[in-house]
């Protein structure tokens, strides 16, 4: 694991931000960290980066315990964009990157700076003061700074904030390709569809506690609902079809206009068609409704909004 939490607890006064949080980020993955507002996502990221200290448990980064002797070395191999870009407003985009390169003690960073500015689409604004940038441009620059020095782990907190739709797509594609550059990514986002498209793992926390963690397909598949099917028959055959399906131990619910929602232990949707055909009921439509990350998120967080 490149990053891990073990029984981490953190409170701010009477407010419990995190409680017994344990999960890890495997090397080579793009891990999405999800949770409603105030669930503790940013606190978890700040703990991981040593910006704040846990009240209980521990975090580790690249095998180094936060605050330990080797932590400085680990954090130099970690790029981070936390709570929006942190920029020197009077310095240009290039100067901001040079400052970071100096802090990371990179030798001859100019080629890498040029490459990253090009990657995030800021090569023509390299000499512009960061204070004059739009929110989206600041976010792009923050991302370029996080990628400086080719870190092994990249931690991004809401990286698509302030970006226009095309910018979101560009950044999403960029993030999903980071493992090809040997980088592991932990990304928190409130855009569930974006997480679903760019992450292969997902960790969901709610009220400071872990509620789901694993590969995206596992988390979505473990929602407990199983597969749902929509079956369409003639309106006058609905009651007969429902009776047939219920007699097989399935849950069948008429939805109107000949549509029946079916759930239960069905391994192949064609079984439904065969069963109903055997009863002389013609199936004019059959589709499988797979659970998506949004429905899983909402069920796990009791309808909380991210």
């Amino acid at each position: 694991m490149l990053a891990s939490f073990e029984g981490v607890g953190k409170s701010f006064g009477d407010t419990v931000a995190l409680e017994g949080l344990s999960f890890g980020v495997p090397e080579g993955s793009v891990c999405g960290l999800l949770g409603p507002n105030g669930s503790g996502k940013t606190t978890a990221i700040r703990l991981l980066l040593g910006l704040t200290r846990p009240d209980a448990g521990s975090t580790s980064l690249l095998g180094s315990r936060s605050g330990g002797r080797s932590f400085a070395g680990a954090i130099r191999q970690t790029g981070a964009l936390v709570e929006g870009p942190s920029l020197y407003s009077r310095a240009s985009a290039r100067q901001n990157m040079r400052i970071q390169a100096a802090a990371l003690r990179l030798r001859r960073p100019e080629a890498e700076i040029d490459g990253l500015l090009r990657l995030v689409g800021l090569e023509e604004r390299a000499a512009t003061r960061a204070g004059g940038f739009s929110m989206g441009m600041k976010q792009r620059l923050g991302l370029a700074i996080a990628l400086l020095g080719s870190p092994r782990l990249v931690i991004l907190d809401e990286p698509t904030n302030g970006l226009d739709p095309s910018g979101i797509v560009e950044i999403r594609d960029l993030i999903s390709k980071l493992p090809e550059r040997g980088m592991t990514v932990l990304v928190s986002s409130h855009l569930l569809s974006e997480v679903e498209l760019m992450c292969d793992r997902v960790t969901i926390i709610n009220r400071g506690r872990l509620v789901a963690d694993g590969r995206l397909s596992e988390v979505v598949g473990s929602s407990g609902d199983g597969a749902r099917y929509s079956v369409t028959v003639s309106e006058h055959e609905v009651s007969a079809a429902v009776g047939c399906l219920v007699s097989l131990g399935l849950v069948a619910e008429p939805m109107g206009r000949g549509l029946i929602s079916v759930s239960g232990p069905v391994t192949d949707g064609s079984q439904l068609s065969c069963v109903l055909a055997a009863e002389g009921i013609y199936v004019s439509g059959l589709s499988q409704n797979k659970p998506d990350l949004e429905s899983v998120f909402l069920s796990l967080t009791e309808g909380g909004t991210s």
Binding site: L51, T52, G67, A72, I75
Partner: protein, 230 residues
Amino acid sequence: MPTPRWCLIAVGVCALVGMAVVWRWGLGSDLVAFDVAIGFPLAIASIAFGAWVFGVEYGQNTLRRTLTADPRRLRLFVTKLTVALTLVALATVVIYLVALPLYGIAADRHGEAVAINDYRDLVLGSLISNLVYVIVGGALVLITGSMAGGVTAALIFLFVVDTVLGVVPKAGDYSLGVALTDILIAIRPTGDGLFAGSGHSTPEAVAILAAWLVGLAGLGWLRLWRSDVK
């Protein structure tokens, strides 16, 4: 907030105004023109510069970026302190070195000359004062966790709290300002200080001053070390 550039410009303007005054009316006694035109502006600039060096991360909200590049907070504190002290010492010496011949030319119109030994003592006193002010400005920024708050707190501390403390019988002898005055009097007996001095020996005054600086800087460091970075 005043940036280093504006601090330098303000000190330069004050020094030029002082030179114009010397050109028109002469140097006066006890090098007071240097104290007023260069010494006082440099002292204020030192407070502002100390606050800026330690507070730029708070002002621009870049502390988390700095600490995610290198999380060693003690290293950050020591580096900032070293840079602030070095630059203020250099600026103080260079500005006084540049001012000496220029003010000398202006004073020569009135048949006056700058006494080199007195001038050396004045520069040494100003240097020590400015180093103290840098530490106070920086420490109060760290204690308040804000650049604007730190500058305000430093000015209030040095010009109100410490001044009031300095006039308290007996206890006032242990104030930062009185201890600094004791040291300045030892260096430059003819100088005009804000305080009368306590009569402490120079080693005692140095110890009192050091205790104040270590205390303030220590509190600032503790705040930086323990605080959650947002």
